[in-house]
Symmetry: C2
Subunit: 446 residues, 2 copies
C-alpha cells in the first residue's frame, strides 16, 4: 500500500477507468488487480454504465449469489422466490421449510396495515395555545399546498392520511412535532414523504410569519424526515397444522414432542435478548434475501423490524408459537416498508427479472412473500437448533469452504467429507489429512 | 407465469443450467430471460463455479455497485475504503464527511472489547444445589474436553474466556443457561463458538449421566448457539474539533450554530424511537457497505447493533454529541463481530481485493474502519437534515433515476436538471417536460 497522507482531490470527478487505475496502483500487483476488478464488469457497456450509476465512485460490480427457493406456497398460490444472499445454508433452509409446509397447507399471510410515517421536528417558544387553536386551519393549508406533489399519488389510491401535533417539550424545551401519516401504495414512498414534509415545513413557516402575535424567533424547524419505524405497515405470516402432521419430520420424534421442544426454543428468545437477537437475525436472513433480490433497501427493513422488536421495552423475538389441543401454529409479525415501483425496481436488470418471476406483485404481496421467507428461515433454524443442532449442517459447509480455500481437487471432497463425519473440522486438521493422503498417494505411485 | 400447483421435486439436484432453464420457462420471454440471467455469469467458469458455491440453488450473480470512499483518515492512517451498496448518495455522503474530517484531525477509534458470546439453554428439574456445587469441576472438564477445538485458537491468542451458570427458572420452570464467553481473534468465530458449545453440551450430558443422585430426566438440553448480541465486542469512533473549525462548513453558518443545530438533531433521536430508527439506519448504511465489501454478515451486524440500541429499555441512537466551551465531538459507539479470516474472506475474489486495499486489517482494525464509515454517513445525514434538508440532494438522484427509466438521452439531462432546480420532481412532470421538448424539437426541425 503506497497511500500518501495527503488529501485526494476530485476523486469523484475521475472516470471509472481512472478510478480503477488509481485504486489498482495501491495494490501490490497492479495488473492482476486491474484484471480482477475488470473481470466483474458486465460485457455490455450500457448495462455496466447503468449499474455504476446506482451509486457513486463505483469501479466494478460485487457479485452476490442470486438463488431460487422453490415450492413456496402462500395463500394457496405457488411462488419460486428469488433470494440474494452470500451466507451458505440460508437458501437451503428456506427451501427445506417451504417444501415441508407445502404439503401442510402452506403459508398464510395477512396485511395488518400499510401506513407510512414522516415527521417534522421543531422548536416552538411562543404561546403553545395559539398553535393548538389554529392547527386545524394550518393542517388544511399544509395538505392543500402539497397538492402538486400528492395529485398522482391520490390517483393511485394513496396520499396524506393525517397530520398530528405532538408536544415533546417536557423532555426538551420547546420541542414539538408534526407526526404525519401517508399511504404510498406500491412505492416505498421515501421521496414522496420527504417531499411532502419539506412542503409542509414551507407552508408552516409562511403561516407562522403571517401570524401577527407570533415572534419571528418563536419557531425553529429542526428537520423534516420520514421514519423507517412503521409499526402500522405490518404483515402477519403463519403456518399451522395438527401435531400428527409433524410426526417424524425429525426421524423418530413425535409431532407433539417436536412442537413442545420448538416452543421451548422460541420461549428462550422471549426471555433472553441474547437469544432474541440471534433468533431475529435468522428471520432477517430470509427477509433480506428477498428484499435485496427485489431492489429494496435492507437497512430500512432491518431498522424497522429490530426497533419494532424493542417497542415493548425489552428486545423480543418477532415470531411466536401457539399450541392448542390439536394444532401447532408458528407466527411471524413484523413491520416493514417495501416498494415495487421507483428506486432500483425499474432499473436493475435482475430486479426486473425478480419481480417478473414473482408475477409483478403489489407492495403488500411482496411484504407477504418476504415475511414468508423470513418465517421459513426461522422455522428451519429453530427446528435444527432444538433437534440435531446447527453444526451438523454448518460444519459440512465449513469443511467445503476449507477444501476450496486449500484448493483440494473436487474428486477428493467426498472421501474427506466422509472422514470428517464424526470428527472435528478445523483448517489444520483438514490440511493434515490432505497432506497425509497426498503423501500416501505419492508413495503408492512410486 | 405458468407455475403448477404441485410440489417440485429435486430442484436442488438439477445442474445450474437446468435450474436456469426451469426458471426461464416461467417467464413470458424465455430466450430473453435466459440471456439476461446468463449475461451476469462471470466469463471465467472456475470463478463462476466458486461464486455459485457460496449459496444453494444459485442461477446467476446479482451485481451490487462496488465503490470507493477516498480520504478516510483513521487514527492518523489514510484508507481508501471499499463500499458495496445499492443506495444512491451513501458513498457520496461518506466521501464528503471523510474529506471534511480529513483536514480536522480525522476519525479516532478505540476498541472497547472483543468478547464473543455463546449459550447453552437447558431445563434442569433436579436439585439445583448439586449443579451449583459441582459446577466448578464440570466447567473445568467442559473446557478440557474442548481442547481439540480450541488448540489452534489458543495458539492465535484466543480461546474460551469463561463459562457462567445462569438461572432463568423464575421465568420458565427449570430454565437455566451456560453463558459462555470467547475470544476469537481475527475470525468472526461462529463455527468455533458453535463447535465449542456442542462439545460443552456433550460433556455436560456425560457428566450428568455419571452423577448417581441425578435422574436421567432431570436434564434436557434445549439448544446450543452463539449470540449475535455482543455488547462487549464494541468499538468507539469519534470526530472532534473546535467550533471555529466548523465555521462555514455550511455556507453562512457559524460553527457554533451548526453544532447547536446538529446536537438538536441528535437529541430528537434520543427522545423519539421513530427518529432513532431512521437515525441508526443511516449509521448502518455506511457500516453495512464495508461489511458487505469485506465478506462479512450484515444481518449479524444489524441485529447486534439494533438490539444493543434497545438495551436500556428504550430504542436509542447509536451516536451522541458532546459540546464543551471550545469543542464539538460526535461519537459512535456500537458492538459488532467481524472476521478477516474464514467465511467468504478467503474465497470471494473481490473480498480479497477489499482486504488487500485496506492493507490486510485485523478484525479490530476492520471494526474501526466500518464504524468510521457509519459515523461518516450519520454525520452527513444529520448535517443535511438540520441545514439544507435531505431532499435537495435526493431529488436530483430521483430525477436522474426517472430520466434513466424514461430512457431520456444523456445529452438532455443537464437542461432538465436545471429546469427542475426549483420545481417538484415527479415521473409525470418529467414525462410532460420531456414530451413537450421533444415536440418542440420536432417542430423546430420541420
Amino acid at each position: 500500500m503506497k497511500l500518501k497522507q495527503s488529501l485526494i482531490h476530485g476523486f469523484s470527478k475521475k472516470t471509472r477507468d481512472e478510478k480503477l487505475d488509481f485504486v489498482a496502483n495501491l495494490h501490490a500487483d497492479k495488473e492482476h488487480t486491474l484484471s480482477v476488478y475488470k473481470s466483474f464488469h458486465h460485457t455490455d457497456s450500457n448495462t455496466q454504465n447503468l449499474l455504476e450509476e446506482f451509486s457513486e465512485n463505483t469501479i466494478t460490480n460485487f457479485p452476490m449469489p442470486f438463488s431460487i427457493c422453490p415450492n413456496v406456497l402462500i395463500n394457496d398460490k405457488v411462488y419460486l422466490v428469488p433470494m440474494v444472499i452470500e451466507e451458505s445454508s440460508v437458501v437451503a433452509a428456506a427451501a427445506k421449510a417451504s417444501k415441508l409446509w407445502f404439503t401442510r397447507g402452506g403459508f398464510k399471510t395477512e396485511i395488518l396495515g400499510t401506513e407510512k410515517i414522516g415527521q417534522i421536528h421543531f422548536l416552538w417558544t411562543d404561546d403553545k395555545t395559539i398553535l393548538y387553536n389554529r392547527f386545524p386551519e394550518l393542517k388544511k393549508r399544509m395538505i392543500k399546498d402539497c397538492f402538486d406533489i400528492t395529485e398522482n399519488m391520490i390517483k393511485r389510491g394513496g396520499g396524506i392520511l393525517d397530520i398530528e401535533l405532538k408536544d415533546l417539550s417536557d423532555e426538551e424545551p420547546g420541542l414539538m412535532q408534526f407526526y404525519c401519516t401517508f399511504e404510498t401504495v406500491d412505492s416505498m414512498g421515501a421521496n414522496f414523504i420527504n417531499s411532502c414534509l419539506e412542503q409542509f415545513a414551507t407552508t408552516f413557516e409562511n403561516w407562522h410569519s403571517a401570524q401577527e402575535e407570533l415572534s419571528e424567533e418563536g419557531l425553529e424547524i429542526i428537520m423534516c424526515i420520514l421514519s423507517n419505524l412503521t409499526p402500522n405497515c405490518r404483515v402477519k405470516c403463519y403456518v399451522e397444522c395438527t401435531y400428527e402432521q409433524l410426526d417424524n419430520i425429525v426421524p423418530g420424534m413425535s409431532g407433539k414432542d417436536f412442537a413442545r421442544r420448538f416452543k421451548l426454543g422460541v420461549r428462550v428468545a422471549e426471555l433472553d435478548p441474547h437469544r432474541a437477537t440471534t433468533h431475529n437475525k435468522g428471520v432477517f436472513n430470509g427477509v433480506d434475501a428477498v428484499v435485496l433480490a427485489t431492489g429494496n433497501d435492507f437497512r430500512a427493513v432491518e431498522a424497522c423490524g429490530h426497533a419494532y422488536a424493542a417497542l415493548s421495552g425489552a428486545y423480543k423475538p418477532l415470531t411466536r408459537v401457539e399450541m392448542d389441543n390439536t394444532h401447532f401454529r408458528f407466527i411471524l409479525e413484523m413491520p416493514f416498508a417495501l416498494g415495487v415501483v421507483g428506486g432500483l425496481t425499474n432499473l436493475h436488470p435482475l430486479v426486473k427479472q425478480s419481480l417478473e418471476l414473482l408475477g409483478h406483485p403489489s407492495a403488500t404481496e411482496l411484504m407477504s412473500i418476504s415475511a414468508t421467507i423470513g418465517l421459513a428461515n426461522n422455522f428451519s433454524a429453530v427446528k435444527s437448533l432444538v433437534t440435531t443442532g446447527i453444526q451438523q449442517g454448518h460444519m459440512k459447509m465449513h469443511l467445503l469452504n476449507i477444501l476450496k480455500q486449500l484448493e483440494v481437487p473436487k474428486k477428493r471432497h467426498k472421501e474427506i467429507v466422509e472422514y470428517f463425519k464424526d470428527k472435528i473440522v478445523s483448517v489444520s486438521a483438514v490440511r493434515q489429512l490432505v497432506e497425509k493422503r497426498s503423501l500416501a498417494e505419492t508413495n503408492k505411485n512410486e
